[in-house]
Amino acid sequence: MADFQTSTHRQHWILSRQDLAQKYQIANQRAIQMLLKYGATRVEVQQDGSLVYPGTPLETERNGTERHTSLPEPLTIDEEFLIRRYYELKIQQVCAAFAFPNKIQATAVLFFKRFYLQWSVMEHDPKHIMLTCIYLSCKVEEFHVSAEELGKGIQQDPQVVLKNELTVLQGLHFDLIVYAPYRSLDGFLFDMENFVQGTNNSSTQKLQELKEAAKFVVDTVILTDCPLLFTPGQLALAALRKANLEERAVDFERYLQSLCDRHPKHTFKELTLTFDAIDTTVDVSRQPKEADLMPIDRKLKYCRNPGLQDESKKRERKVKHKSKRVSQDTSMTTTVDASPMV
């Protein structure tokens, strides 16, 4: 059976906060460099899986100042984070729409996170990567859906998914087994049953409710950076603690104490600190609103496709020079900032 202690998840994919920040920084800088050098950041994926970086260096001498001013603005790390967060939520929604088992969305979100540790959002289109992550996650979690089915379900081109598959796999370093907190959650609840046994009869009912509430908390926790910083067991217990604050199904302190007594490797204090850290991370991070995302997405589009920016600028100029028709103005803006997701 799968063992967390010997897994790649534990060895490679639990990082410290500094490591995490560093990786994001590296990816972001690399993309900015590419932007300055080539004017675009999009990394094309060929049919055979090989990557093509934007090739032609900017000819600053020839085109002079015009080129300089039309350089698209790169995304900051925070903006990248917001975009990623948005797409991770989208993954959860798509998986719910398809009625996939719970673990699939967890795996897909983790894949997405891990992939964007190596690459910047400007380099690979998050929408395509999102679909590929869902597809891969279905394969890994033994719930295979064909790319066509996926494409038909959400009206996207299945070829996109297949083209990106190898890129995503390489970005994950082929470490595909992901431990989601859900099974650990069940484990702790079984343990709690034994602990609570003698107390009262309605305990099973309360534990059920606790389980549902905790699952909901885990869904939120998965969207933050926590799965890359903490182990699934810690996440599960933290979720249980948080859910228990509302449900009050069990005396959590006592349970935790008994757990630590039984497994002297963990101390009560350390565990509590961990849970506090998780809680603060979750509380601090917020779900971005659509309105906030629009400008970021526009920036992203221009980074990947600087041609778009030139086009829109030309259109702007044309409109300003022609008769001032307000309706045309509004129609132009809607075509430019197409929504990030279909």
Binding site: D3, Y179, G187, G233, H263, H266
Partner: protein, 207 residues
């Protein structure tokens, strides 16, 4: 080709001798009643001579060809309808006979596994007139065995014997079946607990 197969099937319950075992075992569908060709179900022993039987077979083949190729479709259909009227009684009887045979074959295969009869019913069964088959008296009476005994309207067999949901399976029975299947593969509910616990306690610490 598909069209021809479906037409043949419809003319089926047909010449079991003619079209061969394959189609017979496949069963037949009575769903597209509009064709009504499944009346052509005479058998060799129905005919006085081999020559007459062969003529009959040829007639049926002509009909099939006409329908497949779309030649004289209306005339062919008329012919079929006329045949049906003339031989209504005979058609039903031979269908009944066929159903009985299939039921017997199926029962031999399964060896009566799912027929649970309570004691009371068993008594009733034994008391039944000898001509009736036991399954006919099951509650729900799926295998109705009409006997061409004398004149009079004959009940048509209901629901072919190859209908797999012969035992109405409710949610409970289905769950039980699935669990039994899982346990046959070595699964126990305990495995789930152990795995969850192991993962939970094993993944509490990185170092």
């Amino acid at each position: 080709m598909n069209k021809e197969v479906s037409i043949r099937r419809q003319i089926a319950s047909l010449h079991p001798a003619h079209v061969g075992a394959g189609l017979r075992i496949l069963g037949f569908t009575e769903s597209s009643s509009e064709w009504k060709l499944h009346e052509y179900n005479k058998r060799e022993d129905d005919f006085p001579s081999l020559r007459a039987y062969n003529d009959y077979l040829e007639e049926v083949e002509d009909i099939i060809i006409n329908l497949v190729e779309g030649v004289d479709v209306q005339a062919t259909k008329d012919k079929v309808a006329k045949y049906q009227e003339e031989n209504a009684e005979q058609i039903v009887a031979s269908r009944a006979r066929k159903a009985e045979e299939q039921a017997a074959a199926l029962r031999q295969e399964n060896g009566f596994p799912e027929i649970k009869v309570s004691n009371g019913e068993q008594v009733a069964l034994q008391a039944a007139p000898s001509g009736q088959y036991a399954p006919a008296l099951l509650p729900g009476g799926l295998y109705m065995q009409p006997r061409p005994a004398g004149s009079g309207p004959q009940p048509v067999p209901v629901g072919g014997p190859f209908n797999n949901d012969s035992v109405p399976e409710d949610e409970e029975a289905r769950r039980v079946r699935i669990e039994r299947a899982a346990r046959a593969g070595g699964w126990t509910a305990d495995i789930v607990r152990k795995r969850a616990l192991q993962e939970a306690l094993g993944s509490l610490w990185v170092n």
